[in-house]
Structures are given as structure tokens and as C-alpha cells.
């Protein structure tokens, strides 16, 4: 079986993936109050760099999703059809993820909750219907 495509760890992104590995979803919060993902060095609201990692509640809502019926990578060949979704966390940041539910169970703005799942031992932030 083909290797699953996995994130490339950088000094900036490593704390994010390490936290997931330890069972927590984190995001960045600036002293100005703005919160975001994916990791970046400066706040897009105030452009400052005085931010820290904050633990997310793991609750969010489903913004949109797509269903892949063909695989663009060997590792997904046995998984089609599979969904890729946008989830907005209650704290604001948005991320690309998968919803652990059949397409028929997905609905506009439905509440979802974090379900960390591993690929080849690497922890990913997936979600399930809340």
C-alpha cells in the first residue's frame, strides 16, 4: 500500500501536530484577540507576532464538504468515496478535515466534534457529528 501523504513538520507547524499527537487540537491566539489556523508567524489582524498556542474545545460546525469519487493519490484509492470538509471551530479558526460519517449524514452548519485519528501513527484532526 502506498504511503499516506503526511504533513511536513516545520519549526512553525510542529507544535500543532505534536499537540494533536498528545490528544489536543490547538490554534494560535494573538494578544489582540484574533485566533487562527493554519500556523503562521504573524497575526493577520494586527500583524503582530505576540501570539501563543491555545487549546481548542474541539467543537465546531460543518461549513462545506466535497466527496471524492476518484483518488488523486494511491493512498486514497481504497477509500473512495470519501469526504473532505471545512470545519469552523467555535473559537473561529477554520480547517480542512474529514467528517467520520456517510455523505447522507452531512448537513449545513451541523455541529461536529473532534475525533483524532491516526494515519501510519501520525495524528490527524478529524471530526464526527456532535
Amino acid at each position: 500500500m502506498a504511503d499516506h501523504p503526511l504533513p511536513e513538520l516545520t519549526p512553525l507547524s510542529e507544535p500543532y501536530w505534536k499537540a494533536l499527537d498528545q490528544g489536543h487540537l490547538v490554534f494560535q491566539r494573538c494578544t489582540c484577540g484574533h485566533a487562527w489556523l493554519p500556523p503562521r508567524l504573524q497575526c493577520t489582524a494586527c500583524l503582530g507576532d505576540d501570539w501563543r498556542w491555545e487549546r481548542a474545545s474541539g467543537r465546531g460546525r460543518l461549513v462545506s464538504w466535497v466527496i471524492y469519487h476518484t483518488a488523486y493519490h494511491e493512498a486514497f484509492r481504497s477509500r473512495v468515496p470519501y469526504n473532505v470538509a471545512i470545519v469552523a471551530l467555535d473559537e473561529g479558526p477554520r480547517l480542512i478535515t474529514n467528517i467520520l460519517a456517510p455523505a447522507s449524514a452531512l448537513a449545513r452548519d451541523m455541529p461536529v466534534t473532534l475525533a483524532i485519528k491516526r494515519e501510519q501513527g501520525f495524528a490527524l484532526a478529524r471530526f464526527r457529528p456532535a
Binding site: 501523504p5 462545506s64 473532505v84 474529514n98
Partner: protein
Amino acid sequence: MRGNIVIAGIGHTAFGKLPGRDTVSLNVEACRKALADAGVPKDAVDAVFVKTPTSSRELMYGQKLAEALGLQPRMGCAFDQGGAANVTGIMLAALAIEAGQCEVALVCYADNPRTGSRAVYARPRGDDAAYGWFSTAAGYAMLHQRYLLDYAPLPEAFGHVAVACRANGAANPNAQLKLPLSMEQYLAAPWVVEPLRRDDCCLVSDGGAAIVVMSARRARELGVRQPVPILGFGQGQTSWEVVQRPELTSTMAATAARTAFAMAGLAPKDVDVAQIYDCFTITVLMTLEDYGFCKPGHAAGFVAEGRIAAGGDLPINTSGGLLSETGMPGLQLVLEGVRQIRGTSTMQKKGAKVALVSNQGGTMHTHATLLLGA
């Protein structure tokens, strides 16, 4: 500066599969034809604005092209805004001419993803490839899905766009895909990335296009036969990646259009024919709404009434658009806008006085609007 600047000539290569041709040579052919159409000698050109090829990135591409054109222009650059770069190139040329920085500009674009590499369209989207997030199409599918959730249009709404463009392409001898599409065929086609069906997605094409831009005064001096005045233009950039975008069913296209209409002193109701960027059918519905042709969420009704089809009050993509003429991102739409004002389209809107062109790039990140008039 409304009407001060004109499109003096247009040219394009064949569209489709063009093996053995690099993008520079496609650009040169399109430029040669555009200059011939304008009746202007190459030596009159003192500026070259080219959009970088989407399928491959090269350093100093603008200079490679200027060298191949045998030019030492006063101004020139290769730049990237995705598909909006074509109309933006025209805008840059117009502003530069108005400011006395150059007199005669070539604006061109070429690419060869069909015989070269189309890997860019199937690319992993950064770290999110871990979740299976791949391809250009999937980004548009996200917008399409949210549109379905917000407004609950029938799938036929998207089908009307595809069917209209394909009918226009079938009437255009230069179109890459001259195969009309029925609504039944549209609905029966397989998913690409659901909710995108096969015919929601544009073609992948080799080809090039070019236009010649100059002042109306210079066009008179050079004896240009059919100059088409530029009435207005505008831009807007949504910037956020799809996942970060607070609003998925509306973009800065609204700002681009508002700017262009204000510059031209026109309103949507004045537009006779529109070339609306149709890399995916969702972009057409969202653009119709953002431009003010109909209210948010009302594009489905607008297209269902046949208004965008040939013979409707706002025919779109009269040479087939990206869905049928060529998947080349954007400049062919400007060429067709020029033909409509000249009265030479293969799907001519009778008496067209105002033609609108929309260009957009990324996943509706960038947007540019052009208004042409008689």
C-alpha cells in the same frame, strides 16, 4: 479615461492539443496574429504584459518572450494572478499608456498543459493532502456545495450554464469542443469531485491569445481598422484560501464590477453580451449575482429563464467559454468581447454596444472586470 484606450487587434493560436509547441512560441504566434489583425508593425510595440503559464513556472518569463518577439520594450513583465491576470494586464497597459509610459502594448497568454503537464490541476493542497485534499476542482466543489446548501438550487441551474456554453462552442469552428450538451447528458455525467459533474469543469487546453492595446489617438495615426474602446475596468481580490474564507458564495468580484461600471458610467442593465469566466459553472452563477445581474441566490432562476443562452437578453460566452472553446484561462473571453463589438462573433448578439468580460483566478481569489463598447 473612458474610451481613451482601445483594443486594436486580437489574435490566437489553434486551441486543443498542440504537440511540439512551447508556450513562448504559442505566445509569439498569437502576438504575430494580433499585430496583423491591428495592421500595426511589430516595431510600434513598446510594452509586453504576459501572464505566466499556469502549468509551469519559469524565471524571467517576460524577458524570454520579449527576446523571442525581438523586442526591447520600454515596459514589460510576466505576472501571476491566475486567470484574472489577463484583464489585469490590459488594465496595466491602459494605465501605463495613459501615464505616458508606453504607447503600444501587447497583452498575451499561452500555456500547454494538454500536451505538457497537467499536474498542477491535480496537486496536493499542502499539508491538507493528509486529509485527501487534492486538485483545483475540489476547491470550486467546496464553493459549489456551500451554494447548494445556502440556496438549494436544482442541479439544472449549473446545467443551464454548461448547456449554453457548449451550444455556443458547437457553433464556433475554432472551439476545441464542438459537441453540444443536453440537460439529460449533463445530469447523467459522472462526478469529478462531487458536487461537480464532468461538464461543470472546463477543458484542459494548449493554446495562446494576444491583444494589442493603444490609445484611440495612436490607433487613428496607425490606421487601425476596427479599434474597440475600453470603457471601464476594475479589480477585487478575495485573498483568503477557500478554507479560511468567511463567505463562500460571494467574492470581491462585486467590487471589481462596481469599479468597472462606475468608470464606464454604466450599469448591469446596459450590458448587451457577457463573457463570464467559466472554469467551473459555479463561477458563472456567483459572478452573475456579485455583478448585480440578479440578487444573491437568484442566479438559478435567472439562467433557467434562458436569459444567458444565445437569443437571451444576456447571452454569455458566445464563443464557447472555457467549457467549450478552450480551457485557456481567460484571454479568449476578451477576444470574444472584441468580436461582439465588431459584430464578427459566430454567435453574434445583434447590435451589441456594450460587452462585459470577467476574469478570475485561483479559487475565485482574484477578479478583474472589463467593459468594452462601440
